[in-house]
Symmetry: C2
Subunit: 884 residues, 2 copies
């Protein structure tokens, strides 16, 4: 049996080996393979990690030998010796299969000890440099591997700077560094209970173990859960010869994107620091320079770097996120990966790359995640309102947000769960804050740049973020912050604009989003590819107009009850409900008819030439009456205070009616077609209003054939219900037609939103001309989850505990609810082959659900207007994925 | 093409031709065929009826000719002429396929007119008789065919009797009858606008049309709906030569059952009148004599009749319901059919007939309708007492009860404990009233339907209940109630009959249910035939003992929450719910443990040797707390009246907790295993109590192998839920086992009560060792019907309008819910072939549902103890029907 290979030199890998070598390792190997300057190194595989985690968290002898063998060839390649007189120093970095920024740990300068530090000093002739490396190594290794609190180190170095009265570490003298090393070593001894390991091999194995173990830190687990990354992928470990950005003034380090990750503009974007190591860019003690300045400082290196970037983009056919180091004027590539980008950047880059001939239109479609488009749909601060800027930071992630200032991620989560809008405000964020960022409307930090943790994570989530707002001073201990010399309490409301970096006091007016040309181009490509038609849920003329703008091919759900809720209508609706006789009820309905008629006219007019599905009244009648508990309390008060007998009696009557109509489980109560059967006069009025509206439009000159009304009966579960409701609609239509002496085409169908409706869909399709699956209610009944209750109660717990994989109201439960939908589709088509099939639950705007609906052969999905672009793109993805 | 035959002489028919000739016609033909004395005649078929009803309600020429041809041979057989000098008179009677007593119409003495009346007078030498026949004919034909109000006739005859000062019609003089005939003919002319038809053929055709048309009278339609008789069966018409019971003193007419239809005793049972026609027996003006007296009055006829009855019973192998006429000492049979009987008679007759060798035991089983047994299971009002009904509600749970009216559950318990009989009277009941229901003799509510809380709980306990008695108005505040405009104090004695829904003032004499030897014999035969096992739903030791008596083979559902509801436990339960910390909750649970333990001990002891399925806590926690609306009102009152700050703050805290826990749709809320996952300590306590109880029983000497605990997890919908709950049970068991140093076998399964559970039953069966279908909740979610709401709201309307065929909470909706159950069965067996499958919804005691459960292959059904005999018999029927 061939022995399992757990270690691969870069020379033996390429970019296709991501699952074995991790993303970073595979790309390092690939860059080496295509001739780019990469320091030599090797990768310990993800399989080794899984083996380690499953087998008692111990490195085993064979693995150690394999690592040491590869170390040996590294020594040969570099002409250096690990722990020797011309010491080989190495970096040890994690590298998961899927990029998990900030989640895993890194150790640089490994191999240093008191001896090799002196050797390095001798070799480079720069004792300060060697001591600085050693100081950094002890600090990083102490923190990451030995779990020494990093503040313990920070305190010493801060004290050293203060004592020397300098601003940066690079201004410290070698003697300061010697003292610092002494203090660091003592700290390690004190806090970890052991001496700092001087044996480089021991350092190496401890570091590898630390990388492996970090796969299961809490923050890594949380990140994987948030991004649905499987737990069994494991991480690789990249071991690479060190190059030094802190060796001289023509050394340096930096990060760059091949295009602007915020807006997609096709220019190099990034920042660098000379005479620095990687962590200095992130730490924020020195402000990095924009990459364009490198052209002046080190023009040759800049040109070389630019060429490398172009080569990488052509090679990977996508925008790259690159890390590099310059050692004494020589460029080294330390990482490349597909760059994260905002939605607008994603759209711009995808469309540009098609124009540049790099990718096909189908590639471009797949480059943009449909759910990402949601970012573009966010409202922005109204530019016409003049606001007084309170402060300004870096525009780290576009979009605007308002909320109460909260300093703590746990508290942010808690307040958000209880329904408050919060803004997470921190000096800087760490991976421990992830849940707070998820919960917040936006993120504001006082430190850190465009590539700081907060910026990267917020952009990934499409969450507004302003970084490095130095005018903001945060006093965590006292729960206060200071802007412009004024103090404010935590809880104050602030607004941020992630597009401009501005910060404002109070909540600010937001406006509707605007879309780029590339956005429309991409969606046009999506429309050519997709099979599913896309409709909108719209209840009024304004929404219908918006729906058309967003590309709707019809209205899939017009909820007529929303027309009842307007302030001027509710008294008439209540009169209708409280009516003591059929005559009284019909009189009230007569008043409502012209109101509904006007709404219908506006909607049909906006949608002329496209189908409009109108759902007849659905909610239980008590929803239109005052709240029972409020009435009870008011009545008790009136009685005790000897209130006016007239108003007592009025309230008593209302209470009686409310009590008679109230329900223990309104979701399963007297609603939908159950209302239409018991009170047919209500549905008759609605149907009449629909046809009268249509005739008025015809009179106004709209061609009759352009009007495509689809009348939808809600909550049908039995064949008889559908048949009788069809008769009611047909009879009412006939009466209106006879009255006007002309006819109009229309169709009658039903909303499939009960398990029973799916089970007997063949019977329903005998009289229903279309089905629209109401997956919101179908989810409630199939799972037995009341949406009103579960989202605030057990559902967050269920999600957190992974009892269910996703919120079934956001993402269709394909396994359960989906099975019923599929059954409904098959049975419906069985008895009426040409039946029109769609869905109008909120899942119509969820990408993974849209893919399911495409695959089971629905004709259309319908969603809220602002989710239409998502649905259009998702429907295109569904086709492309199916053909993959 | 052979012409369709629409008319059959009796000689061409037999009892197998019921669907064509109707029940009456087929049996008349059969009796003629086996040589019994039947006046000759013929039958116009049900097909003729349907043809008539479908083709414009007109007799067509071919049918008329066919009738006249048969009339011709009747003339030949009898030597008489229709409308002639020796006139043939005939009876025209309806005869549906299924017996529909009183639903259809009959005309006697047809063929009489002014001429044939005189002929008949001459022929019989009895002018009074002839005039009496003519008078009867005009009255009957006028009423039934010409739709003349029958009071118009009654008024004349009453006046005539009064004028002559006699009590019966037979005492009227011929001159009185002549005058009466004159008045009758004038009345017909005046009210129907036409002369009374004198042409016998016209009389005949009009009568046939009237019978056909009566198929669609309102009362017939209502009867068919109530008894689920298809509308397209149609009725036959029986045309038969008249024989006259009113011809002389040795003539007469009567009805008889071959056995006692009330108790099944094997003796002739019936009554007769001499010198009378059929309608006189019914009219009540003369009191008929018991059949036994015929032996003295006309001994030869009696003996002949007795022999005929014996022959008929042997021939039909069932108890017969017979009509006969005696004409001048000669016996004629006019009808025989299977006799309707009470449940106890049905049981007695079936068992007797097996002993008499008439039928097999399987026949006997099929002779008793399972649902009929319900009559036998409860205390009843002494049927010999005549009572005046005070009000009437829904017959929610059979049995009768008397007691003092009490509005409050605590008070009911208190009074019952001090030995008083009480009736719990409430607008509606909630789980908080359980102890009151237990304590009361019966329950009466003014609101709620057949499956309201009160009804379900009462049926479960076998306690009489009348629901939704709207004539009863309860004023809780003033401690009074109102019936029929009169006010009464709490404490008044009322009686209820849960079989009829009747309410009476005062105590009424009750008789205990007693089971006859035949009852036990029959159920013993059922047990030998059935394949389904029968278990009981029982929540406490008393119910378990009762279950055993009623033949339970195990407990299919022990609801542990009922153990929480007892008055002495609810404060501890509330303490547990209100606990601010896990420690406090566990402390309260520790108090509850010994209470649950005791209950479990009692149940397991009673059921030793049989399986017991214990369902862990199911209802949402707010069900154990005070009502929110009551708290709100109390708090408002306390605040306004300046109440004690301590108790205000206490109430405020309670209100806060109740509000936090309250739900819009508790049915779809935080209950079932969702509780067990969020509060695992509750389930752990319950599981611990189960095993500690079992070990105590082992210590008391019960063999461990006789104890068969099955622990059931409620409301599972996802695989993860089942897997985690299984781990919780196993871990808890392991802890108890380790603590006691020994083990016990047990199994863990789930209640399948959500559509999703059926859809993913294959996944659930991976960890569930048994499924018990909770068809109550499954019906609620599959149909989207809240049981608490729909019964009082749209469901009665739906049933009345035939939108749905039956109440889905009483009879399983096989088409919808049944489809899911079947899917659950198939998928469950697919991944665990030996999985134990049962149901424990109320459908377990419904015969048609039991048949479905048998057919889809369940292992057992479970129902409330008092429904066990029904389920046992229904399960036997299911097997016999399948083999038919």
């Amino acid at each position: 049996m061939k022995k399992m290979q757990y270690v691969y030199p870069f020379a033996d890998g390429d970019k296709s080996m991501k699952s074995l070598l991790g993303g970073k390792g595979a790309n390092l190997a690939e860059m080496a393979r295509i001739g780019l300057p990469v320091p030599p190194g090797f990768v310990v595989t993800t399989e080794a990690c899984n083996h380690y985690l499953n087998k008692g968290n111990q490195l085993w002898p064979d693995l150690k030998s394999e690592i040491l063998e590869n170390l040996k060839s590294l020594e040969e390649k570099t002409g250096r010796t690990f722990g020797g007189a011309k010491p080989l120093l190495i970096s040890v970095r994690s590298g998961a299969v899927v990029s998990m920024p900030g989640m895993m740990d890194t150790v640089l300068n490994l191999g240093l000890n008191s001896d090799t530090c002196e050797s390095l000093a001798r070799e480079t002739g720069d004792r300060r440099f060697a001591l600085d490396c050693y100081r950094r190594f002890i600090q990083m290794f102490g923190d990451v591997v030995l779990k020494v609190n990093h503040y313990s180190f920070e305190n010493f170095i801060t004290a050293a700077r203060e004592k020397r009265k300098v601003r940066t570490d690079s201004e410290l003298e070698p003697s300061d560094l010697e003292k610092l090393i002494e203090d660091y070593l003592a700290t390690v001894r004190k806090e970890s209970g052991r001496d700092f390991p001087q044996d480089p091999n021991e350092q190496l194995f401890l570091a590898v173990e630390a990388v492996f173990s970090s796969w299961n830190t809490n923050r890594a687990v949380v990140y994987r859960r948030a991004h649905r990354i499987p737990d069994d992928l494991g991480t690789a470990v990249n071991i690479q010869a060190m190059v030094f950005g802190n060796l001289s003034d023509n050394s340096g380090t930096g990060v760059a994107f091949t295009r602007n990750p915020a807006n997609g503009e096709p220019y190099l974007y990034g920042e660098y620091l000379l005479n620095a190591q990687g962590e200095d860019v992130v730490a924020g003690t020195r402000t990095p320079n924009p990459i364009s300045e490198l052209k002046k400082e080190l023009p040759a290196v800049y040109e070389q770097f630019k060429a490398v970037c172009e080569k990488l983009e052509k090679h990977y056919r996508d925008m790259q996120d690159i890390e590099f180091t310059i050692e004494r004027g020589k460029l080294y590539m330390l990482q490349t990966r597909t760059g994260k980008r905002t939605a607008s950047a994603a759209v711009r880059i995808a469309v540009d790359m098609v124009e540049e001939g790099l990718i096909s239109t189908n590639d471009a479609l797949l480059r943009v995640e449909p759910s990402q488009l949601e970012q573009l749909m966010h409202r922005r601060i109204d530019p016409d309102i003049s606001l007084v800027e309170a402060a300004r930071g870096l525009p780290a992630s576009p979009g605007a947000a308002s909320g109460k200032v909260v300093f703590n991620a746990d508290k942010a989560q808690e307040m958000a769960q209880s329904g408050e809008s919060v803004l997470l405000v921190r000096p800087e964020t760490t991976p421990d804050d992830i849940h707070g960022i998820i919960a917040a409307q936006g993120v504001l930090t006082s430190r850190g740049g465009m590539t700081s943790h907060a910026a990267v994570v917020a952009r990934g989530m499409g969450k507004p973020c302003v970084c490095g707002c130095e005018a903001l001073r945060i006093d965590l201990a006292r729960g206060r912050f200071n802007i412009g010399g004024e103090e404010y309490e935590e809880g104050e409301i602030l607004s941020i604009d992630g597009l401009t970096g501005q910060v404002f006091f109070g909540a600010v007016p937001l406006i509707e989003p605007q879309f780029s040309d590339e956005f429309y181009t991409l969606l046009g490509w999506a429309d050519r590819v997709r099979r599913l038609k896309i409709r909108a849920n719209a209840d009024n003329p304004d929404d219908a107009i918006l729906a058309i703008e967003m590309g709707a091919q019809g209205i899939g759900l017009c909820r007529t009850e929303h027309m009842f809720m307007a302030a001027d209508r509710i008294p008439v609706v209540q009169k209708m409900i409280l009516a003591g006789s059929l005559e009284d009820r019909e009189a009230a309905l007569k008043e409502l008819l012209p109101m509904q008629l006007e709404d219908f006219k506006g909607i049909f007019k906006a949608m002329a030439g496209k189908p409009v599905t109108i759902r007849l009244l659905d909610p239980p009648l008590h929803e239109f009456l005052p709240d029972k508990e409020v009435l009870l309390v008011e009545l008790e008060r009136l009685n005790l205070q000897g209130g006016d007998p007239g108003s007592i009696s009025e309230k008593e009557q209302m209470l009686q009616k409310v009590s008679a109509l109230s329900e223990f489980n309104p979701m399963l109560g007297h609603r939908g077609c159950r209302l239409g059967l018991v009170y047919p006069e209500i549905y008759r009025m609605q149907v009449k209003a629909i046809f009268l509206a249509l005739f008025e439009l015809v009179d106004e000159g709209i061609e009759a054939r352009l009007l495509q009304p689809e009348i939808m009966i809600p909550l049908v579960g039995h064949r008889e219900e559908m048949e009788r409701m069809k008769v009611l609609v047909d009879d009412t239509a006939r009466t209106v037609f006879n009255g006007s002496g002309r006819e109009l085409p229309y169709s009658v169908g039903t909303m499939i939103e009960l398990p029973r409706a799916c089970l007997v869909a063949d019977q329903l399709a005998k009289s229903a001309e279309f089905f629209s699956f109401g997956t919101n209610d179908l989810t409630q009944t199939t799972l037995g989850y009341s949406r009103d209750d579960s989202e605030g109660k057990f559902l967050p717990f269920y999600l957190q505990q992974k009892i269910i994989p996703a919120n079934p109201f956001a993402e269709l439960d394909c396994e359960g609810v989906g099975q019923l939908v599929k059954m409904g589709v098959e049975k419906g088509r069985q008895s009426r082959p040409g039946i029109k099939l769609g869905i109008c639950g909120e899942h119509g705007g969820d990408p993974s659900s849209v893919e399911f609906f495409n695959d089971i052969g629905l004709d259309y999905v319908s969603c809220s207007p602002y989710r239409l672009p998502i649905a259009r793109l998702a429907a295109a993805h569904a086709v492309l994925r199916k053909n993959e």
